[in-house]
């Protein structure tokens, strides 16, 4: 639940420009998908929004407050999930509460009672309540990513960021994980920004789309404007032939429903 305003954001690493004068505004509760090739600047954009990476110039405000560094109320889901394999799913989820727990308290496992409840509620949201005590390292890729989502939810974020959350998952797990992210966002009315590789998944889950190429925004619009020409503009002329054919055959909604049928395979 927050309004994000990005103004003239640029970031360069030495000679390489990762973000080039990016500006947009996202109102409360929108589910935004950022699309683009590898190296288009998606990750850099999300990392700047999270505050892990400091932009070279420009500003980001979340509800009129400038982003100065990582904050507890901005949560991030990573492509490689980056959860701690040695710890249980529950302990991993609880690390989302570190930002509001003292060092000694977190060291001794003395989290707030509400935080413990919150961790279990988050695991329930991602369908892992029964697996709460399992060692995270022994879980499947899809489950580990869901633990990552739970950790993000425990932060009680106003803004949920997901950096290619399903890029390293098989198509079925990818669907499941995306659905959990969207359900969690709907349930908690979270503003969500997710970067994605897969156009079909983006079309299925996205509400608003931001297309990036070479660090610049080449498309910013909603479902109805997001067509094959736009995809061409973002990715160049690759991979879109099949979709173009499908689109002339049948409306994309049916197409999306067909893909989501694969979901039942996972668990």
């Amino acid at each position: 639940m927050s309004t994000i305003e990005v103004t003239n954001l640029s970031k360069s690493y030495g000679d390489v420009t990762a973000l080039d004068d990016v500006s947009f505004t996202i109102p409360d509760g929108e589910f935004v998908v950022v699309l683009g090739q590898s190296g288009a600047g998606k990750s850099t954009l999300l990392r700047c929004l999270n505050g892990i990476t400091r932009p070279t110039s420009g500003s980001i405000t979340i509800d009129d407050a400038n982003v100065m560094g990582p904050r507890n109320d901005v949560a991030m889901i990573f492509q490689q999930h980056y959860i701690l394999g040695q710890m249980s799913a529950y302990s991993n989820a609880l690390t989302g509460a570190l930002g509001r727990t003292s060092f000694l308290g977190s060291l001794l496992g003395m989290y707030d009672g509400d935080d413990k409840q919150e961790a279990l509620r988050a695991l329930e949201t991602v369908g892992l309540l029964d697996e709460a005590n399992q060692r995270a390292g022994k879980m499947s890729g899809g489950q580990q990513q869901r633990v990552g989502i739970a950790r993000a939810l425990v932060q009680n974020p106003n803004l949920l960021l997901a950096d290619e959350p399903v890029a390293s998952l098989d198509p079925a797990s990818a669907e499941t994980v995306m659905r959990y992210i969207r359900d969690a966002a709907d349930e908690r009315d979270l503003t969500t920004i997710a970067s994605l590789h897969q156009v079909n998944i983006a079309r299925e889950f996205g509400e608003r789309f931001i297309g990036m190429k070479d660090g610049q925004i080449v498309f910013d619009g909603y479902r109805e404007d997001f067509n094959v020409d736009v995809i061409d503009r973002i990715y160049g002329d690759i991979e879109t032939e099949a979709i173009r054919e499908e689109q002339t055959d049948e409306p994309p909604e049916n197409n999306a429903a067909a893909t989501s049928g694969a979901r039942s395979h996972e668990y």
Binding site: I52, N72, D73, Y82, I83, L84, G99, R100, F103, R151
Partner: protein, 321 residues
């Protein structure tokens, strides 16, 4: 056409020259190596003549090391009862007096290794964590790394000699020495384990708004929890072996028994003590490796047979390590 042939011949010539240079280089290296080796031999006074001269004495000693006897009264075998008699006489294992257990020398040796390891762990943790470049920024982490290097440069036996004014020639001094040695060795292993920590989870913990100490504990240490336990078990193995060698300088336990019997030229008793040492070290290693393979997630541990076969090599290593 002819230019092609020329080029091929050129290439061939170049290859031959390169080969000759390599050969010459190999010869130079070989000569240098031989020169160093002969010098090393003369430096230590190595002499074949001596081996030949004293060979009969050595075989006599071998007869004492392995006193001849028979198994079940028929099969020729080592007279095990002589070993057992000594083990009982000097209480190397365990005895009962009026129903109360009296712990033997084997427990003294194990206690030195175990207590030394536990005493060394806190220091190893502090030095190891602070020595990592990812916790302490670059030039400053070398204060801690350097401290560990200095500790490691001095062998445990020498540490014991240093501590003699503090605790006398005793198992206590030996334990202090082992603890000190552990700080250096285990700490270094901790630092190395920390270098291999992944950046991702640390960043993820940072992204939740955690503070720096939380980042170290949850992002880094939680990743290396298993290797830390495994390395500690490994150091315990080494420390028990060091505990044996501590006895050689009077630190008590099995090593001291061994040293005394050597002084008395009682080779049979020496071999009995060596057998107990063997049993102790292999048991500790066996337990340690089972624990390690368990926490690593049921990998196949080293087999008991392999442990026994490789025993002499590890024992030798612990003396100079």
């Amino acid at each position: 056409m002819s230019t092609d042939t020329d080029r091929i011949e050129d290439a061939l010539r170049n290859i031959q020259i390169a080969k000759r240079v390599r050969l010459l280089f190999s010869i130079v290296v070989l000569v240098l190596f031989a020169w160093f080796f002969t010098n090393a031999l003369s430096e230590v006074g190595f002499s074949i003549g001596e081996i030949v001269e004293y060979w009969p004495e050595f075989t006599d000693a071998l007869g004492d090391f392995f006193p001849p006897g028979t198994l079940f009264g028929v099969i020729p075998f080592v007279d095990v009862s002589q070993y057992w008699a000594f083990i009982q006489e000097r209480n190397l294992l365990l005895q009962f007096q009026d129903g109360n257990p009296v712990l033997g020398a084997v427990f003294v040796t194990f206690a030195m290794g175990f207590a030394g390891t536990v005493l060394g762990i806190p220091g190893a943790l502090i030095l190891g964590v602070l020595g990592s470049e990812r916790v302490t920024p670059y030039p400053f982490n070398f204060i801690f790394r350097g401290t560990m290097s200095v500790i490691r440069a001095i062998p445990a036996l020498v540490w014991a000699l240093i501590y003699i004014p503090l605790g006398g020639v005793s198992p206590f001094t030996a334990t202090l020495a082992i603890g000190t040695d552990t700080m250096g060795n285990l700490g270094r292993l901790f630092t190395d384990a920390l270098e291999e920590v992944e950046d991702g989870p640390i960043e993820a913990i940072e992204s939740t708004g955690a503070n720096s100490p939380q980042k170290v504990v949850f992002g880094m240490l939680s990743q290396v929890f298993t290797p830390f336990i495994a390395w500690t078990m490994y150091i315990l193995e080494i420390n028990v072996r060091i505990g044996v060698t501590m006895g050689l300088i009077g630190g008590g336990g099995l090593g001291q028994v061994l040293q005394t019997q050597r002084g008395l030229f009682r080779y049979t008793n020496m071999m009995a003590t060596i057998l107990v040492i063997f049993m102790l070290v292999v048991s500790v290693e066996f337990v340690s490796q089972r624990v390690r393979s368990y926490i690593r997630g049921n990998e196949e541990g080293t087999s008991l047979l392999k442990l026994i076969v490789e025993f002499p090599q590890r024992m030798a290593r612990s003396i100079w390590e």
